[in-house]
Amino acid sequence: MSSAIRNKIRYYRFMNGEMTQQELAERTGVTRQTILAIESDKYSPSLELAFRIAAVFQQPLEEIFSYHPEENNLSKEK
């Protein structure tokens, strides 16, 4: 069950002093399991959470998250 939203959270965590999932979770007010689910494309965050994650990395939203509906359609067809 993967979403059509891809993200670069892992990359930006690495670029921000190898921030842990737990640290990012605490800074965005969610659980580590939710960060793990978002990173592995198993859960699409709400718009508010996506903005909070982007704010932690001081990046625009579209730099962290991107929408790929065609990939999701392909995976459903398979």
Partner: protein
């Protein structure tokens, strides 16, 4: 397996452990051929005891299991409940309602078809158990596979 999945798994076992001894007791009493009014009273007591004991077992068991998991993993358990948890909870409760409603209306259908009224209570009891299992399996499914 996530902590929440482990607690959901424990809840299934706990629910079954509370249900079957209570059910066996009421089954033995109703099989003795007592009048319907007395049976209704027994079933009412069964459902109230089932609810009370289930809540007590879940609360005590969850606290103990959380403490155990926290000691073993050295990671705080359930510090926050976030948007994903709420979505999963809504999905799980929806599944609970579907299963219980199915059991409820199936029980009513049996009565309409001329089955004894006492059968309704058996169906309701098992639909409550099945709905509870569906609830916790939904938690496990969504926490393990994603939402």
């Amino acid at each position: 397996m996530t902590h929440r999945s482990k607690i959901a798994l424990f809840s299934i076992v706990g629910q079954a452990a509370v249900f079957f001894p209570l059910y066996r007791t009421v089954r033995q009493a109703t099989d003795a051929g007592i009048p319907l009014e007395a049976q209704i009273s027994l079933w009412a007591a069964f459902f109230l005891k089932l609810l009370g004991l289930s809540v007590a077992v879940m609360v005590v068991g969850t606290i103990l299991l959380q403490a155990l998991l926290q000691i073993r993993s050295k990671e705080s358990v359930f510090t926050v409940t976030d948007e994903r948890d709420r979505l999963i909870e809504a999905q799980a409760v929806r599944n609970f309602c579907y299963v219980f409603c199915f059991g409820f209306f199936f029980g009513m259908l049996l009565v309409v078809l001329g089955q004894p009224a006492s059968l309704l209570f058996h169906v309701l009891a098992f639909s409550y158990l099945a709905a509870g299992i569906a609830l916790y399996l939904s938690y496990i499914f969504h926490y393990e596979r994603g939402y």
